[in-house]
Symmetry: C2
DNA sequence: TCCCTACTAGGGCGATCGCCCTGTACGACT
DNA sequence: AGTCGTACAGGGCGATCGCCCTAGTAGGGA
């Protein structure tokens, strides 16, 4: 059994993590300060350093847990598909909900960038992304895609890249038609196997 | 004829831009301050606001001019190739010089991210990237690649995405073998046109 | 010679930053 | 009832921030 105070403390910790996951995309990683964070979570600034050793460690935990959560959901979605082509279309359809300037996309890119300057964060994120790549690669392998793990890596990277460019306001129209060629021998091209 | 003072001023302005292009990847976009910048350029902090209306505008100009310069060089490199497959291999070979955590890669990602919070910067960068996509797409069209502009967009985005992931320390081994399928009908696959 | 323009140096203002220190409220134990 | 430990509030410290203001310097045109 836990004391009510401990339970409240756990809830406050959770609120701080959620506030961080909101504020990182809103204001950029470096612009999330203890004051802003505490205000969003409805606590006083000193509470931040009570629950976390540093602001960095709070941001690291908030970002990685959100990323792990989202990639797990994406993989579950992919598992419901039956062919690699369907998987790519599903993946890109789910990506269509993101503008590249939305909270989720920005959280990923902010985290990628921050990880180049924080070894702990880099290892955490590398683990999360590697796990997704490995699971997706294994799925592609089971479905007969050649070079499955390399393809999974390129697809994951392309997805991030497409969202990155989409954030610029450049229209990235229907990349699925192009990316589908990664898993099938040019299905709807006019010239087929002339080589 | 220009006065020697004006010429010196122009040189100082150039040094400030170069210092900014160095410091953005080094310390992150938000961490480039007028003091640090001035120190790197060998001038006093107040000089920054003499040559530029604001720190933001300095960073915007530094980032976009570097990006334009680099993409122009990349396109020139692509123009020396003869087939789309060779172009992709050349592009990825040149990307192999980047670790994803190097100055150039980080400058791009930092600029992408900063552009989501600055309309002026977003328009500048969108113009630079759109120009590259357009020129590369026209090249692909001339070489018979289907959906050339979409393919160019996806390739450009994938390139950025691969570098983004590479910065995590995840090995992205030889993505060229995978991306080559974008421009040819699965050249070395075991099963060919069984569909 | 004098002025005028372009460039640079120095200092300062108000604001914000991460983090620390101290004091307090309060339920759980002996 | 008294003690203790956990969770939070408030204030402050030193540092850094972008930007502004003023004074000073140097070379070209009148």
């Amino acid at each position: 059994m836990v004391s009510p105070a401990a339970e409240r403390g756990r809830a406050v910790r959770e609120r701080l993590l959620n506030a961080a996951a909101e504020l990182i995309p809103e204001r950029s990683w470096a612009a999330v300060s203890t004051r802003i964070l505490a205000e969003r979570a409805g606590v006083t600034p000193s509470v931040v350093h009570y629950h976390f050793p540093s602001l960095q460690s709070l941001l690291n935990e908030a970002a990685t847990s959100r990323m792990r959560q989202l990639l797990a959901g994406l993989y579950e979605l992919l598992e419901t598909t039956r062919t690699p082509a369907e998987a790519i279309e599903t993946m890109l359809a789910s990506a269509d909900e993101y503008t590249g300037a939305d909270a989720t996309s920005l959280l990923f890119v902010e985290a990628y960038l921050a990880s180049t300057r924080d070894d702990d964060l880099r290892e955490r994120i590398a683990g999360v992304v590697a796990e997704f790549r490995q699971r997706f690669g294994a799925w592609l392998e089971r479905h007969g895609v050649p070079a499955p793990f390399e393809t999974a890596a390129v697809l994951a990277a392309s997805l991030d890249g497409v969202l990155l460019h989409r954030g610029l306001g450049l229209k990235a129209n229907a990349p699925s038609a192009v990316l589908l060629r990664l898993v099938s021998a040019s299905p709807e091209e006019e010239r087929q196997c002339e080589q």
